[in-house]
Symmetry: C2
Subunit: 356 residues, 2 copies
Amino acid sequence: MRTITVADLADLSVGATLLGTGGGGDPYIGSLMTEAAISRFGPVTLIDVDELPDEGLVIPAAMMGAPTVMVEKIPNGREIQTAVSALERTLNQKAIAIMTIEAGGINSMIPLAVAAELGLPVIDGDSMGRAFPELQMTSFHVHGIRATPMALVDEKGNHLIIDAIDNPWTERLARTATVAVGGAAIIALYPMTGRQAKMTMVRGTMGKAMELGRLLRDTRLSVTEIGEKLSGDHGALELFSGKVVDVERHSGDGFARGTLSCSGLGAYDGSVLRIEFQNENLIALRDGIVVATVPDLICVLDRETLMPITTEGLTYGQRVTVYAFPCDPVWNTPKGMETVGPRYFGYQVDYTPLQR
Amino acid sequence: MRTITVADLADLSVGATLLGTGGGGDPYIGSLMTEAAISRFGPVTLIDVDELPDEGLVIPAAMMGAPTVMVEKIPNGREIQTAVSALERTLNQKAIAIMTIEAGGINSMIPLAVAAELGLPVIDGDSMGRAFPELQMTSFHVHGIRATPMALVDEKGNHLIIDAIDNPWTERLARTATVAVGGAAIIALYPMTGRQAKMTMVRGTMGKAMELGRLLRDTRLSVTEIGEKLSGDHGALELFSGKVVDVERHSGDGFARGTLSCSGLGAYDGSVLRIEFQNENLIALRDGIVVATVPDLICVLDRETLMPITTEGLTYGQRVTVYAFPCDPVWNTPKGMETVGPRYFGYQVDYTPLQR
């Protein structure tokens, strides 16, 4: 058990944005929201999942939608609380802890904001160890936990309770509702017991995000030294370093989809890197060869500051360094690969763990 | 109070399809569903709204979606009951009576099927005195009653509870969900007290439908004699008689939209009639002149049998007679006209009551 104060938020938001692999929302907005909530309601307790009783109700909360829209529809604390409360009412039970669904600049922060307001602890962990674009892409789903009943609310005051026959149907119904309310919504879903959380969650994601954020923000270290620590301590593999020469985007179906193209600098001079994304970075090809795919993490960072860049923040001319990180072991299983492997996203390649 | 048995269903479904003005669903499917429910659970009691206590909960139920899809997704009794029960659970109150939202081959029947199964009476009346394509197009809305909380279920077992900020948002959220589940869904909405039903509903629609159905099916009368009775007893105005020469359709957004074109026969030789529809017939132009618009009823009947033809049943070569009937007075008010007048549907004309 530890306490998260306003002073921790900068590290957390940077590290979570890195783990968000392009998605999970803008770190600045996430920090603002959570800072406001903690300033008003006090610090949040971060607990290990093993500190939970087996029987209590745990509720994960998140923002859903295209990150390009999320940055223009900043959620307020009230609607997050509305989503959690709506789910509590539906289940006729009060939550004893809040959980994050995914790592990300907004989605690691929203649970803190609502936990501060409700006076509940946040569990250190999530359901992905990164961010993914669809609701069924969770360790909970891999372990057979239902995403519904789920609550979906918007900033105007509309809310829905969805109860679907399976998790892909939950994704479909929630996605169309999210598009209908303007492209982004707050959700509370995968309600579960403490025992289920212990058996299914990806542990330690918040702590890992804070550690990564602290490293990336460490002004005493050079970019090279930080890169060495990313490789040595966190298994990162440098994929590329270069300049953004094109970002093609299309967002019509509730996702921010697109392709990033970079031309190499330094050791990568003469090479090109292409990354395709659907909210999150999905696949990276260097000179036409696949060098990383989901479920491994493909992370684009500013080449000078090492601040992670979300897919909606990509622009022509940026100097970037691209790292890949190994995914949580839950994904390297038959059900995990069926849920988030490259073939699910339409790429006719098999997943190969990162080649060092 | 009267009893509706299987023997009444033929009259009711034909009359309700006439009042459905092209929408409200296919009469054959509606009859089959209701016949099965009444055969299994017994006849249904039809009551006058004044027989209701003021305080009990009344729940209207209907099928939502494009009629073109409804005929391929035949609802079963279980999903209608699921919708009503989900709404009862949300409100933590049992319904004392079921109500129809609109007249139509399916939508006058669904309430009977669920009422038979639940052993509840059906109130004689609806919220339109006809059918309209959108959820907020009700006398309830005109009188300020909220459509939510509302339940929406599909035949697969998905269900949603929608709680929207206003009735147009309810329509938007329910429409996108309906499209997501395949284009048609069962809904229970506008939960209200007996007192609210007394103050806001369009009375007697079921009785009127049975009377019209009995007249149209009366084999002792000639087509001319039936036409005279439609005009004399029901205020109908014959608009046209001719042959269908074109039906243009597009259904992408959850509605069956299109245009019907007919060339005249007999007294209308040399004339053309065009009807535009969105599930229901909206506007009729004879030789380019508007001869009827919403909210008045524009009804297309088979020229020989006088059976009403729904918009999805229109096909090239049919011989048809087109009648218009005056709408319920609730629509000829400022709020009524704003909700269902021709300008709401994008036609730059004012509503003019039928010219005899």
